[in-house]
């Protein structure tokens, strides 16, 4: 292939493209020897694909389009498997869940304009939850940029506030380096989404330049030893210490360190919702998760602790309630890899900037050995709260099916390492409350952004990341409808996932708030008509089931799990059922309501 060919005028774009496609196609068919040899790639697009290959990317999720076509064309010869999604939002969510399960960035592709803007919700979602995602977007040729060209959007501008970093690739000789850098940045330190915008002329341009071999991962940073000592002293002198484990513990793979720390010193543990599974929920020391719909005992413990060891949490308002009443008696030791999280929402008396696992080990080494006898009273107090405020619901025979029962039933039938994804709403809370998580990275949900429609595409990403594990998705009827089209992908890829729609014929969480705080005026929250989800599933080529009776739950779920492919269980649950406990928005954590009567 010719070197140093002059830049082509943009008007010849389409022609060139056909040429290239024709050429490659011909090459592949030509002779057997030629086909066996790795085809020579000399474009910016090929450098992009090489960068992904060198980063050991195995799956990418995306949707084709004019501006991204050169990159797709370069994928033609790659071993990387491309999963065609029905909508770019699905691609971003699938990549997000894939990244969460594997721990390395998930990758999604979209074309310029509407393709890129459709990614936005998924990117924003990943950004709020610090999930590692690399988004690659096509862009109109550079000489059209800024001219309101067909399918042009300022993607870098649009995604600036919702990415950890984003890049505009304006040079084919560095495009591969840029993709490598974006991939690395997405996964290192505090993870997050990154984006590289790829103009079509740059991906089409010929270049010999290839991205560098993958650079070595940076060592996990430790906290300053003096700071660790001071924090350890504060912990040792506490009467009622409590560990609060956030999503950062998951990101840092620090579950082992957390378990060793908490069980050795016998300190009770609460998690945030993203921290679910970092500490086994069936352990005596575990008080489950705190926050608006967290357990009563976790919220009592948060309110009464005198020393809170918060690890990898950003103190979201759904966790803290009103800041004025959050852990009011506690000195706060805050461990976070991102210095900007320190004292952002809750003042840290003892900031420890570093990797969650490394810092937990530093604290472990620094604390005097063994559990402190004084803490026994505190542990007993926590145990009492567990008895006083148990997680429960009623299941009289004559009542409609309770959603919590369905969650518990499925939990019993599935292995411990089952991956659970969810939509957003009441069902998401029940899936978090009534399933017992014992392993990290098993509750995969949209926490910070709260994106309805996250569940199904996330289940697809999770299943591809862990084909040997059981994957179930709890969805709401409203959430399911937002990304239901991704069922076509699950069927096409023959993914063995089980979707359970907790169908309450409403966007239930909204209705709950209307009943509690808007005088019961159910404006636009009840569905007067819903499709038959079982038939809908069959139309997509999946298996569909319905269940509305306690007696049928076990058999139906069993059948859905047994089916070797995607299945959807439409579970008609009691529309009157609401999520409790509940800390009213902005309230104090210990003022949770256990029922309507308390609101």
């Amino acid at each position: 292939m010719s070197e140093g060919s002059p830049a082509r005028p943009a008007s010849q774009e389409t022609e060139t493209e056909t040429e290239t496609t024709g050429e490659t196609g011909g090459e592949a068919d030509a002779t057997t020897e030629d086909a066996a040899a790795t085809p020579e790639r000399t474009t910016g697009a090929a450098a992009v694909v090489t960068a992904l290959e060198r980063a050991n990317v195995e799956h990418v999720f995306g949707v084709q389009g004019g501006a991204i076509m050169p990159v797709y064309d370069a994928l033609y010869h790659s071993d990387i498997a491309h999963v065609t999604m029905a909508h770019e939002q699905g691609a971003a969510h699938a990549a997000d869940a894939y990244g969460q399960v594997t721990g390395a960035p998930g990758v999604c592709f979209a074309t310029s304009g509407p393709g890129a803007t459709n990614l936005v919700t998924g990117i924003a979602d990943a950004n709020m939850d610090s999930d590692p995602v690399l988004a690659l977007t096509g862009q109109v040729p550079t000489n059209f940029v800024g001219n309101d060209a067909f399918q042009e959007t300022d993607t870098v501008g649009v995604t600036r506030p919702i990415t950890k970093a984003n890049y505009f690739a304006d040079d084919e000789t560095t495009i591969g380096d840029l993709v490598t850098e974006a991939f690395t940045v997405a996964g290192e330190g505090r993870p997050g989404p990154t984006l590289v915008d790829l103009p079509k002329d740059v991906t089409n341009a010929e270049t010999e330049a290839r991205p560098p071999e993958e650079r070595d991962a940076a060592a996990a940073p430790a906290a300053e030893p003096q700071a660790v000592e001071r924090a350890a002293e504060a912990l040792a002198s506490a009467e009622k210490p409590l560990v609060l484990a956030g999503g950062g513990v998951t990101k840092a793979n620090a579950s082992e360190e957390l378990r060793r720390f908490a069980t050795t010193f016998e300190v009770p543990v609460v998690t945030t919702m993203p921290g679910i599974g970092t500490f086994p929920e069936d352990h005596d020391l575990c008080l489950s998760w705190a926050g608006m719909h967290g357990t009563g005992y976790a919220n009592m413990a948060i309110s009464h602790t005198d020393c809170l060891l918060a690890v990898g949490t950003r103190f979201d308002d759904r966790l803290t309630g009103g800041i004025e009443t959050f852990a009011p008696d506690a000195t706060v030791v805050h461990v976070d890899i991102d210095p900007a999280e320190i004292s952002k929402n809750v003042h840290a008396d003892y900031p420890l900037v570093g990797d969650a696992g490394v810092v937990l080990d530093q604290l472990f080494e620094t604390l005097p050995d063994g559990p402190d006898d004084r803490w026994a009273t505190w542990r007993e107090q926590c145990a009492t709260w567990k008895e006083e405020y148990p997680m429960s619901y009623t299941t009289p025979d004559d009542e409609p099916l309770k959603p919590q029962f369905v969650v518990e039933a499925l939990d019993e039938m599935t292995p411990d390492d089952t991956l659970v994804t969810t939509g957003v709403g009441q069902h998401q809370m029940w899936a978090a409350q009534f399933w017992t998580y014992t392993e990290p990275r098993t509750y995969i949900s949209s926490h910070g952004l709260g994106t309805m429609g996250y569940g199904l595409p996330a289940a697809i990403g999770a299943k591809l990341a862990a084909p040997d594990r059981e994957v179930v998705c709890f969805d709401g009827d409203g959430s399911f409808l937002m990304t239901v089209q991704e069922l076509s992908v699950a069927v096409r890829e023959n993914l063995d996932i089980t979707v359970v729609v907790l169908n309450n014929e409403a966007i239930g969480m909204v209705r709950q708030w209307q009943d509690a705080f808007f005088g019961g005026r159910r404006m636009a929250s009840e569905y007067r008509w819903m499709p038959d989800f079982a038939t809908l599933a069959e139309a997509f080529g999946a298996r569909g089931f319905t269940v509305d009776d306690y007696d049928d739950v076990a058999d139906t779920l069993e059948a859905a799990l047994d089916y070797d492919g995607p299945s959807v269980v439409d579970a008609f649950v009691d529309p009157a059922e609401n999520v409790y406990p509940m800390v009213p928005s902005g309230g104090a954590n210990d003022q949770f309501a256990l029922s309507e009567d308390h609101l």
Binding site: I323, F326, D338, P339, H347, E387, E388, F592, H598
Partner: protein, 212 residues
């Protein structure tokens, strides 16, 4: 059996301020907003200003002025931000700025830093002598004098600029443009660490090439 209802539960005695700081009766922390200048050294690349201003507006920081200009290194630029925030807010601006990819180093300037601002203003030209007297008093310069308008420039710290503007009011100020503050640390002190390191590196490199 359920424990006590919300209003019957024992309440912890402590409280936090609206900024999440524990309100300790012995050392109650209150944080009045204060005005301060931050100096950020950034890579001089397209979009860096948009990134910084976007961050400021997105996070609702109270910004008074923001100036940008080149440094001795063609690859970097200096951004000077004057902000008015309570103490925790100032620290947040600093930390959030540092998270931006093109930002190399951020430092809050001390009270003794050298701060300068330029104002160009245009007054009615009816009393040229009086205008001239004020301009001299503030070490300013006349940039343009016509029958109807006189345009002057004044350089100085914020206080001086404010005073000068007040003094010109009597003539009727038609328009004015202020640049916002730009600043450097005073004396031997470096404005940002990164510059010190680079300067030292350059010195050694020059030193080695000399000896060769």
């Amino acid at each position: 059996m359920h424990g006590p209802a919300p209003e019957e539960r024992t309440r912890p005695v402590g409280r936090r301020s609206s900024q999440g700081i524990r309100v300790d009766p012995h050392a109650e922390a209150t944080h009045e907003p204060r005005r301060t200048a931050l100096s950020a050294l950034v890579y001089h690349e397209p979009g860096v200003l948009a990134k910084v201003s976007g961050l400021v507006s997105r996070r609702q920081f109270n910004i008074e002025s923001l100036t940008v200009g080149s440094t001795t290194n063609p690859e970097t630029a200096r951004i000077t931000l004057v902000i008015e925030e309570p103490e925790p807010g100032v620290r947040q601006v600093e930390k959030q700025l540092l998270k931006l990819q093109p930002v190399i180093s951020v430092r809050e300037l001390g009270g003794d830093a050298i701060r300068r601002e330029l104002v160009v203003l245009k007054v009615h030209g009816d009393e040229p002598d009086k205008v001239n007297a004020i301009t001299q008093m503030y070490d300013g310069r006349t940039l343009d004098a016509g029958p109807r308008t006189i345009t002057v420039e004044i350089t100085g710290d914020e206080q001086k600029i404010n005073d000068a503007i007040d003094a010109y009011r009597q003539f009727g100020i038609r328009e004015l443009a202020r640049t916002g503050q730009t600043a450097l640390a005073r004396g031997d002190e470096w404005t940002t660490d990164a510059e010190e390191e680079r300067y030292e590196r350059m010195q050694t490199e020059m030193g080695t090439s000399d000896s060769e």
